[in-house]
Symmetry: none
DNA sequence: CTTCCACAATCAGAACGTGCATAGGGCAAT
DNA sequence: ATTGCCCTATGCACGTTCTGATTGTGGAAG
């Protein structure tokens, strides 16, 4: 799931960002109207969290713009201090998916996002399958092989999940470290804890089926294929 | 992709450098104003990561200088202590491509660079094709011939990738050495490790199709054609 | 056309680096 | 106090990269 946060107030922005990163979203940031406009145009997001009081333009215009582009499938959630019913109505008219008045709790944000996802994808959960018979349920945090449960620890699950979200891309140890451990500015390249977790994951999965889908890319990192 | 890091604070510099190297960028370094100015003038970069608080001069002057040189195509990303809004505005006015407040996450840096690249080249995924049926995916670090995987080692992949990025241009051993090994100006012409790698690449590719697209240019270096 | 030389290609093996396996200690949750 | 998870440390094995010697080749000069 790819999310764009459009919010100029730095501390709030950072807070939301951090939270979403921890929830396994891929997060992108925009602080101004221009930045947001460009990113929405260039990338494709699943969600756009949109603050209305932006420097450089009215957030609602962004929404309008985006809705005119039919290729755009992002769900917009409007964040604003203005409790103004007016904005709310306009926003929803223009096709916003939900509306969240500031201040809001991160948990509320999360539950609204999940609600939208349910709406969007039916009642279907976020399920990722791989390697003939494995099925990872991100919301229930379970992994199944055919009909048997596979128990993973938290870190193992997160690591596998993250790799799975980026199927067919090589992820470096640094990238993994940053996402899963938040090592923002640390260089523990001398540590091998990621390797150890990978090894443990492989060991657990190998009880059920060969694990060639979880590849080592020598000198770079790891990759899930298929 | 060739990046110049301009940052006097050593540990941060090193960190970013390490990360970018691992992300397959070609990295060059400058610690002072003078050093940076010279390197920007002499070389051509795709990105310049520019710290503003430099010994020997104001970083913004560097940006201004560079922008006056129309042959200069580098994208500038400004790195500076959080909250200096003034600098930010000035930087963007002068034509910086993006702005990153310290401290920043390496992933954020990467995603911004990718965003800029998308803007610049309109690329989504870096896929390069060559020689009737070969397809190289830079993000997944895979090479395919029709539907079969071709496995290359790290150096082989990087070398091929680099040649491919400069299709139809002859690359000298010095250029290749400089970019792939960071041998800035060394006359180790007595070593033939590049030839060896070329040979190994040819050997692997030849299993699938003739390799006339990878040419030797006698006395100069190598070239990918088509 | 032949000779000759500089440069490229090839090859084997040495040196190096990286990932894997394993074990154990610290720490948090219970 | 006990359990289980996460991280660290270490040695090993293997794949990768580089070296140096040798063979092969294109092209300029005679």
């Amino acid at each position: 799931m790819h999310v764009l946060i459009v919010e100029d107030e730095k501390s709030l922005h950072q807070e939301v960002r951090q939270f979403l990163l921890q929830s396994q979203y891929l997060v992108d940031s925009a602080f101004t109207y221009a930045e947001a406009s460009e990113k929405i145009f260039v990338n494709s997001y699943d969600f756009v969290l949109l603050d209305l009081g932006l420097p450089g333009g009215d957030g609602l215009d962004l929404l309008r713009e985006a809705r005119q582009n039919e290729r755009q499938e992002a769900s917009f959630i409007i964040l604003t201090a203005r409790g103004a019913i007016d904005d709310r109505v306009k926003g929803l008219d223009l096709g916003a998916d939900d509306y969240l008045p500031k201040p809001f709790s991160l948990l509320e944000l999360q539950s609204r996002m999940q609600a939208i996802m349910r709406r969007k994808f039916g009642l279907k959960r976020q399920e990722l399958t791989f390697g003939q018979g494995f099925q990872l349920d991100a919301t229930g945090r379970t992994l199944r092989y055919q009909d048997q449960d596979v128990t993973l620890t938290k870190k193992e699950f997160d690591l596998l999940h993250y790799l799975l979200l980026h199927k067919n891309r090589v992820l470096t140890r640094l990238q993994l470290g940053e996402h899963l451990w938040g090592n923002v500015l640390e260089d523990d390249s001398d540590s091998n804890y990621i390797d150890v977790h990978i090894k443990n994951i492989r060991k657990k999965l190998a009880q059920f089926a060969p694990t060639h889908f979880l590849e080592t890319v020598r000198g770079i990192g790891y990759r899930m294929t298929e």
